[in-house]
């Protein structure tokens, strides 16, 4: 018991114990007690050897008791007036005691941060809204282009719903434009190209392709062989018994260079 205490270079406990044993031995008259005494001597000599080891130890003496106390201070211990007993100082350790130590500890480690998947699905939100605000500003400076979204509505739905809304919105715009000028189909490029953003342009084309797929808009080549877009007139949709019109596939490519 109390090995460490005995080993502490400041302690004379070992010597005291030996002296006590000596005294006791004089009273011994039974073999059993002699055996105990022998056992004690073996233990004591072991301890003595260890103590000697510690003296020769090359390490500058390190006082663990003070270290422990300083650690407790770092943890934010609330020291109480009354000491419970000698070996454990009284006081309250707060809940985050070990976190405080850990916080400091991390500064001394080159630990690879634990890898965790980021939670949450993609949301289209502020960055998108911001782009639209920019476009809106450019429009109000009086550009000639017909396509200017008036919307600043913030999108809070998930990605898929956002796409649908976009498609609807674009359909709305197309129809509005057409109402204003029913006989002039709109140049496809004029419609989709955003003069300020290549990415937006591609997005617009993407949304328009949905409209085509669903038969809500048509693309034709005009006399100059340039594509034009117009909303399908309701009668055409009714007459067409084959479903959403003859399907044609067109692959359109647009590089950033071309866009410029």
């Amino acid at each position: 018991e109390n090995r460490e205490e005995m080993l502490s270079s400041k302690s004379n406990r070992l010597t005291e114990a030996l002296e006590e044993a000596n005294k006791l031995f004089e009273k011994v008259c039974r073999a059993r007690e002699a055996a105990l005494d022998a056992q004690f001597l073996v233990l004591a000599s072991n301890l003595g050897k260890e103590k000697a080891n510690e003296l020769h130890s090359e390490m500058t003496s390190f006082d663990s008791a003070t270290f422990a106390e300083d650690l407790l201070s770092l943890m934010g211990i609330n020291r109480t007036e009354v000491e419970e007993n000698d070996s454990e100082p009284g006081g309250f350790l707060p809940r985050d005691a070990w976190q405080k130590v850990g916080e400091e500890a991390l500064k001394y480690f080159r630990r690879a941060p634990t890898f965790h998947y980021m939670l949450g699905s993609f949301k289209s939100d502020p960055p998108v809204a911001k782009q639209r605000i920019e476009r809106q500003k450019k429009a109000s400076r009086g550009e000639a282009k017909q396509i200017m979204p008036a919307q600043l509505k913030k999108m809070e739905e998930s990605h898929e719903e956002a796409t649908e809304k976009e498609v609807e919105r674009i359909l709305g715009i197309l129809q509005t434009l057409f109402e204003n000028d029913p006989n002039t189909p709109i140049s496809f490029f004029d419609f989709v190209i955003d003069p300020n953003s290549f990415a937006r342009t591609v997005e617009n084309m993407f949304h328009v392709s949905f409209l085509i797929r669903d038969g809500l808009a048509e693309i034709r080549l005009d006399d100059d062989k340039l594509p034009i877009i117009e909303p399908t007139k309701s009668r055409t949709v009714g007459e067409d018994i084959q479903g959403p019109g003859a399907r044609k596939q067109v692959v359109m490519s647009l590089t950033q260079e071309e866009w410029k």
Binding site: M59, F67, L106, Y108, R111
Partner: protein, 196 residues
């Protein structure tokens, strides 16, 4: 994919064995193993700032450590991890300051001062004994070896290879110095050893 595999496997901080890599990810590309691993290592280094270190040449197991200098506060780190690191650094400090190896009895007697008792459920750490003698050992932070000719058996606790990689004697000495508000040179021999 090997990069992802390594990152996920590293969560538990248990060394990743080469055979697991082969079995789960590389499979049919066995012959290109060395090439794949070195590529993965490059990606880890360049994109994540992590180093792949072979921690056991016999078993060919690896760990990931950060190759960036010890960052300042505000690590994205969960509370549980922080608490364990706190306990770990205390243990590593004790071991180093006491001469690089301590007896289990000495360590646990020391931890008693900090209200940590083996065999008792700790409010924060739960089964502390298991945490120290099993988890920390498996993660290669600590090395525990039995001391011969002791009855009842006693054990010697030392730093494990991961500890040696992720921190250093100098870092730990600085930690102790900070806690105690003293200059690291106060402990001359430890300081000499740490800066050797």
């Amino acid at each position: 994919e090997l990069v992802q595999f390594l990152l996920v496997k590293d969560q538990k901080k248990i060394p990743i064995k080469r055979k697991d890599m082969l079995k789960n990810v590389i499979r049919e590309y066995r012959d290109a193993y060395m090439e794949i691993v070195s590529q993965a290592g490059r990606i880890l280094q360049e994109t994540f700032g992590l180093r792949m270190v072979e921690i056991d040449p016999k078993l060919h197991s690896y760990i990931l450590i950060s190759s960036l200098p010890c960052a300042e506060a505000n690590h994205p780190c969960r509370a549980k991890e922080k608490e364990k690191m706190g306990l770990l650094i205390v243990i590593l400090s004790f071991i180093f300051m006491k001469g690089n190896a301590v007896k289990d009895s000495a360590l646990w007697e020391f931890l008693r001062w900090l209200r940590v008792h083996p065999g008792e459920q700790h409010e924060i750490f739960g089964d502390v004994q298991k945490l120290v003698t099993e988890e920390f050992v498996r993660q290669k932070y600590l090395k525990i070896t039995p001391i011969p000719l002791t009855d009842p058996p006693q054990f010697s606790y030392q730093w494990g290879p991961r500890a040696a990689q992720e921190t250093s004697k100098e870092d730990i000495l600085n930690f102790v110095a900070k806690v105690q508000g003293k200059n690291p040179k106060f402990w001359t021999s430890q300081h000499n050893e740490a800066t050797a």
